[in-house]
């Protein structure tokens, strides 16, 4: 259904089936939820050599291959492992904030089995060596699958294009200037045109940069009261609408990241109706929090794009439920204490999200905004389709990337217990429902809840 890139990524060594695993694994007595296959039934999954061999009600304790390891899921939800299409892991360059190692621990604990990192590291990932570095570190870490996007322009400067063809062949899953929008319409036009030649995905941080310049939070009454410079909500849709004209000219595949306003949702909806190759994601804060979270200058509530007003929050939640927003990504942005314990306008924008992605997203299911299948689709099969990955579905022959979830268990988010190196989360202490019990990558268990 979605456009696939011309060539499948070849690096990303995490995709190689693990060689050492020989003992079959059977997960039985689970509620199998697979959005891609429209499956929601009680049954089991049989894994051999890192691949799903069989699944369904017929997979039980009886009739398993000899020597199979059996895990009784106790009726909990077994779904494809989550695919997080937007994270920052700070390696290389800022390893004091997060590393590929700690980031993959956080991912595994959050039920995320595949993630894609942004290129805004130091050095910036804008050449083949950078892409190969990430692939090698992911291979060495041996936990979750880690892919990367390449920069869209060299050094993220918004001027010269990177070697999209070569980077794509090396395994880059798409191209983006990370936290910057490409401001120059001519550069963006060429980038989209060139990307079209290789069928690669272009991802935009949609924000008109001059309109947002100097802004610290959403423009409005609260910004006025706090005396903080505001970013008008329309800065987002302005950039999306500009890009949509260029997408129409080029026919490229375009993905708008972290949609946060009602107007953006409408623009994307229209573009999809028109048949453009346009997709988008949002992050949990944009449907679970609004600008009031800032309260008395809480820098943990400073994000980019900023938290918006309540009508925008509601519109984003509705657009996820409706499917106008394709995916939910964590937009994981680790920052150390020093980056956040400063006056609000000086503070870094962003929050960690790998370990809150699932419980906060499940809030939409628990408050009956949408079905479990449709919610999990935003976290599994839909990002897989957009990224051109074979995982994200429970089916015979697919990689055995799976997450076991105790759907209803209530708990309070405890940031102190997070695996991420940074602790910048506004969700600490928030009551949520749903816990990751186990995470499997290629049939290997990479996380088990205590």
């Amino acid at each position: 259904m979605s456009e696939r890139p011309g060539s499948q990524p070849t690096a990303g060594a995490a995709q190689r089936p693990p060689k050492r695993q020989t003992r079959p694994l059977a997960l039985v007595n689970a509620r199998l939820v697979d959005p891609a296959g429209n499956r929601d039934e009680t049954g089991g999954v049989l894994v051999e050599d890192g691949v799903i061999r069989d699944l369904g009600p017929q997979v039980t304790r009886t009739g398993l291959p000899e020597g199979a390891e059996v895990i009784d899921c106790g009726g909990d939800v077994l779904c494809p492992g989550l695919i997080d299409m937007r994270v920052q892991l700070r390696e290389p360059g800022e390893e004091h904030q997060e590393t590929i190692e700690t980031g993959s621990l956080a991912a595994a604990a959050g039920g995320v089995t595949s993630m894609v990192t942004l290129p805004n590291t130091d050095p910036i990932i804008d050449d083949v060596a950078g892409v190969e570095f990430i692939a090698r570190r992911a291979r060495e870490t041996k936990r979750t699958k880690i892919y990367c996007y390449g920069a869209l322009t060299r050094s993220l400067e918004g001027k010269d294009l990177v070697e999209m063809g070569l980077l794509s062949q090396s395994g880059a899953l798409g191209f983006t200037d990370a936290l910057h929008a490409v401001a120059d319409a001519q550069v963006m036009r060429r980038a989209l045109n060139y990307a079209r030649s290789f069928g690669v995905l272009v991802i935009q941080h949609p924000e008109e940069p001059r309109l947002a310049a100097g802004g610290a939070m959403n423009n409005g009454e609260l910004a006025t009261r706090l005396g903080l410079p505001g970013i008008p909500a329309c800065a987002e849709v302005m950039m999306i609408e500009r890009d949509l004209h260029l997408v129409r000219m080029s026919g490229a595949r375009y993905h708008a990241a972290h949609i946060s306003t009602a107007a953006s949702v409408e623009a994307i909806r229209k573009a999809k109706q028109e048949g453009l190759h346009v997709t988008c994601d949002t992050a949990p804060p944009y449907f679970s929090l609004n600008e009031n979270e800032i309260g008395d200058y809480r820098t943990f509530a400073k994000l980019s794009p900023p938290l918006r007003g309540e009508p925008d929050r509601r519109a984003v939640a509705a657009a996820v439920a409706e499917g106008v927003i394709d995916c939910i990504a964590s937009d994981h942005a680790p920052y150390d204490v020093e980056s956040k314990r400063v006056p609000f306008a000086q503070a870094a924008a962003g929050i960690i999200g790998l370990e809150t992605l699932l419980p906060i997203s499940l809030g939409l299911y628990h408050n009956r905004s949408l079905s479990l299948g449709n919610l999990l689709k935003c976290l599994t099969s839909r990002p897989a389709e957009i990224l051109g990955l074979p995982q994200g579905r429970l089916q015979r022959g697919a990689p055995a990337d799976m997450t076991l979830i105790d759907l209803d268990r209530p708990h309070r988010i405890d940031v102190g217990a997070f695996h991420s190196k940074s602790k910048n989360s506004p969700y600490d202490g928030r009551p949520v429902q749903g816990v990751v019990r186990r995470t499997f990558v290629d049939g290997r268990q990479v996380f088990e809840a205590a």
């Binding site: 006025t224 009261r225 706090l226 005396g227 410079p229 505001g230 200058y297 006056p343 609000f344």
Partner: protein, 321 residues
């Protein structure tokens, strides 16, 4: 006035004075009454002289200021406190020390009151969470400048005998002004009617939600007002085009006798200083001894700051011996 066992929150229920927004009308009135008593007493009053004896008051200014810092310094000295002035803008910040490092270092010297000015909104709130003494916000970014609003209110009250029911126009660069925000909070809480008058580029978003009427035509906005509060055009905070030229700004938004004619005949003219003569206010108007109370504002500033220091130190534990 120096019993150590005095109960906290007896007079003023806040540990810090960070803004007007968190105060009740009653608390504001109480502070104004106390300020009035300081305004009336001779400046060498001996009882006042001993009130803060043994207390340390630290002026911590991350932004250049002469008048506000001097006013606080004088107020603290008139109450007998030891005063230390720190201009941090020129020292440790340049060496890479963070705001909170600076705060905690100075806190270790155990000041009873820290008076803080900072160019970033919210910075004084942040600092107040990390220190043991009381903190007075002497202006943070565009956010609040509570003692300025109190001294403005005291000046008005002395001249007009009341605040409630008066019509006050706040004119000019509201967008960048912490004085405007604190004054809007104070005046609306106390029952005055407030108008803001400015070109739309100098008005923050949804300012009407703060309970003010908005005017872009100065003559219409000044009609029948009791008080004209002018704001300084903060050219140093302006990156980009807010007004096309000083000439055009003065033509439409500078206070001159012609525009002032729309206000009540006995309307008072105020300005928080420092003034840009010929930009937001005509020189003659500013110096008009019958209308302008700008110098009186400065005088009331000391009384108000004495009252704030008095009120906050009543909540501190420990003796002042």
């Amino acid at each position: 006035m120096s019993e150590p066992a005095r109960k906290p929150a007896a007079f003023f229920s806040h540990r810090h004075l960070l803004g007007i927004e968190g105060l009740s009308a009653e608390e504001i009135t109480r502070l104004l009454d106390l300020s009035q008593s300081y305004a009336e007493q001779p400046k060498d009053d001996q009882r006042a002289r001993s009130l803060l004896r043994g207390r340390t008051v630290m002026n911590l200014f991350f932004e250049n200021s002469t008048r506000t810092r001097t006013s606080f310094e004088l107020a603290a000295k008139r109450l007998g406190a030891d005063v230390i002035n720190m201009s941090v803008g020129t020292s440790s910040i340049k060496k890479g020390e963070t705001l909170l490092d600076t705060a905690m270092t100075l806190n270790a010297m155990r000041p009873d009151v820290m008076i803080v000015r900072h160019p970033e909104s919210g910075a004084v709130n942040l600092l107040s969470q990390k220190v043991d003494g009381a903190v007075i916000n002497a202006g943070d970014g565009r956010h609040e400048h509570p003692t300025q609003a109190l001294l403005d209110a005291l000046t008005i009250r002395r001249r007009k005998g009341k605040l409630a029911g008066l019509l006050v126009a706040i004119c000019g660069d509201v967008l960048h002004s912490r004085v405007a925000r604190s004054n809007i909070h104070l005046l609306t809480k106390i029952g005055a009617r407030v108008r803001v008058i400015a070109p739309t580029t100098l008005l923050p978003a949804q300012i009407d939600r703060m309970g003010v009427e908005v005017f872009t035509d100065m003559r219409k906005g000044l009609k029948d007002v009791d008080i004209v509060m002018m704001l300084r055009l903060q050219q140093e905070r302006m990156q980009g085009a807010y007004v096309p030229s000083i000439r055009e700004y003065f033509h439409f938004y500078g206070l001159d006798y012609d525009k002032l004619g729309a206000a009540k005949p006995d309307a008072l003219i105020m300005h928080p200083g420092p003034m840009n003569r010929g930009v937001e206010i005509d020189s003659e108007v500013a110096d008009d001894i019958n209308r302008s109370v700008i110098r009186e504002q400065v005088e009331m500033g000391v009384a108000v700051r004495m009252a704030c220091l008095d009120a906050l130190t009543r909540n501190l534990t420990g003796t002042n011996q």
